[in-house]
């Protein structure tokens, strides 16, 4: 698999506190500029002071040149239908959601199966910060400093067999705790999946935090997936089940509207959604008149992931 994962000497890695404060400074200056331009009220770029901090290392090998979005934007503009279908719903309705205790069932074509507590899952996984572009299928985008670990190093622990061609993920189903599930807007529980090579790709991240703090509930706590070259809906949240399968998982959005959402869902400016164009996107939080930008093939990660799809008709497998 030809991927570009730069080797970085430990001495080259900026200590997290230095790196973090630098970005906060830049972010703060930027936010000031933006709000001066738009005349909008200013909000802090970073997380609230009382948020639970994580221990992690910044991984500058996975970063982008664009400035990250403010913490507030990332945590109040969410598509998480389990907590309501409006963007601001999850931040309001997920406040009381408790993520401990939490367990994940591992099932299917793997030698190691069973129920694992969240602590088990996280054991021996050093956390790193990666700044990724996030492109929603609705044609808006963010830049998010995620904290997590490569999915590959988690999946390897379960020793998938040769029959494991796909990995299927399932979100918690509990309408009492996730009020959005009382409304049949989608078939619950939410299911997503990846081909095994996509799942094992070094860009694919299991996320437990953002902006250096524990993942807020509305962003998919305690455990979510991030696949930066795919549309956001592939990044399943609040995962309780990982299943290795031989056949392609039946994923929620692809079931709901098969002509609009595919299994692959790779970011592709050349293939429009039937109802809107995917050629451009609007960057949330950017100043007015400077929000719209061209969408990049594979969300800008083509160098690393295009080889996964060699010979595939991406119009057909959208």
């Amino acid at each position: 698999m030809p991927t570009r994962v730069p080797r970085i000497a430990p001495s080259e890695i900026t200590p997290p506190e230095v790196y973090f404060s630098r970005r906060t400074l830049i972010g703060g200056a930027l936010a000031a500029g933006v709000s001066a331009l738009a005349g909008r009220a200013e909000a802090a770029a970073g997380p609230p002071a009382d948020a639970a901090r994580l221990t992690y290392t910044a991984n500058p090998g996975y970063s982008v040149s664009e400035p990250p979005n403010k913490y507030e934007e990332i945590t109040t503009y969410n598509n998480f239908y389990e907590f309501g279908t409006y963007k601001e719903d999850p931040s309001r309705n997920a406040r009381a959601f408790r993520t401990r205790p939490w367990s994940v069932r591992v099932d299917g074509e793997a030698e190691v199966r069973g129920d694992f507590t969240l602590e088990d899952i996280l054991k021996g996984q050093p956390l790193e910060e990666r700044i990724y572009r996030f492109r929603c299928v609705e044609a808006w985008s963010l830049v998010v400093p995620w904290v997590g670990f490569p999915l590959a190093s988690l999946l390897a622990r379960f020793k998938p067999t040769s029959r494991a061609k796909y990995v299927e993920f399932t979100t918690l189903y509990d309408p009492n705790r996730m009020p959005g599930q009382r409304v049949p807007v989608l078939e619950w529980p939410y299911v997503e999946g990846l081909r095994i090579d996509e799942a094992m790709h070094p860009l694919t991240l299991m996320v437990v935090g953002l902006y250096g703090v524990v993942l807020p509930n509305q962003d998919g706590a305690p455990l979510r997936l991030i696949v930066p070259w795919k549309y956001g809906f592939k990044g399943i949240k609040s995962i309780v089940k990982i299943r290795f399968t031989e056949s392609q998982p039946r994923t929620t959005w692809a079931l709901a509207t098969p002509n609009e959402y595919g299994f692959y869902a790779n970011v592709n400016p050349a293939v429009d959604h039937p109802r809107w164009s995917q050629a451009t996107e609007r960057r949330i939080g950017a100043p007015f008149f400077a929000q719209r930008r061209p969408t990049l093939p594979f969300n800008g990660y083509a160098d690393q992931v295009a080889p996964l799809y060699q010979g595939m008709d991406l119009r057909r497998y959208f």
Binding site: S35, A38, G39, R40, A41, E72, E73, T76, Y77, Y81, T85, K87, E88, E138, W140, V183, V185, L186, A256, T257, R275, W276, S277, A279, T280, R282, I284, G285, F288, F289, A290, Q291, R292
Partner: protein, 229 residues
């Protein structure tokens, strides 16, 4: 104050202020005045709120006739023009925000959207159809067009259907809100269908009653004639 004065000096100014309230609120949100906020994506919020406000005024315009009939308030008709003009006003702002803030004046995308995206095509059609209605909303135009004015302004039914359909079609999955609009619109249109039917059958009944009356009187006449013979 008589009724005319009450409408001119109290009710109409009140409706005018109320009609501007959404715009004032959204402006405060856009500039962060008085603690108002439009959330993380002010462009979409402005766009959607103006669109929904246009639909609200469209439905209010269509509610005038049923409400005045049911509550027996014929004077309510005096407010209808302003409600209709507010619908046009907010639809125009909605479109302007879409072109200026959302598409950032990318004219080729605008052309492609209108031509290729059905929900934008019908939304744009609804806006275009509102133009002649707004242009002929003055007293002078009403006088000049006479009976044709009424026919022209029946377009509002088409516009309302297109507008709600536009809303329904752009929603990703949760269609509850557009369905609520569709339900209200259906009731308002149904009211007119039922009334028109009732009026037709009433006219028929009256016609047959008249015919019966004529034939009865003729019979009476012939009876009298035969008696006199």
């Amino acid at each position: 104050m008589n009724v005319t004065e009450r409408y001119r000096y109290v009710y109409k100014p009140l409706v005018f202020v109320a009609g501007l309230a959404p715009l004032v609120w959204l402006t405060c949100g856009a500039f962060g005045w008085f603690g108002a906020s439009l959330g993380a994506d002010p462009v979409k919020e402005l766009e959607h709120e103006c669109g929904k406000t246009a639909l609200n005024f469209l439905l209010l315009t269509l509610a005038v006739t049923p409400v005045r009939n049911i509550l027996g308030l014929p004077q309510l008709l005096r407010l209808r023009r302003m409600l209709g003009l507010f619908a046009f006003f907010y639809a125009l702002i909605h479109f302007t925000i879409y072109v200026v803030l959302d598409l950032e004046l990318n004219w080729s995308t605008l052309g492609a959207d209108i031509a290729k995206r059905p929900y934008i095509t019908i939304g744009f059609t609804a806006l275009l159809l509102l133009v002649p209605l707004a242009a002929t909303s003055t007293n002078g135009m009403m006088r000049r067009l006479g009976r044709r004015w009424t026919s022209l302004h029946r377009l509002v039914y088409v516009i309302a259907i297109l507008g709600v359909w536009h809303f329904y079609w752009q929603v990703k999955r949760d269609v509850r809100e557009p369905l609520l609009y569709a339900g209200i619109l259906a009731l308002l249109l149904l009211y007119r269908v039922v009334r028109a039917q009732a009026a037709r059958s009433a006219a028929r009944a009256a016609a047959s009653a008249r015919a019966q009356l004529t034939s009865t009187s003729r019979v009476g006449l012939s009876l009298r004639q035969s008696q006199s013979d």
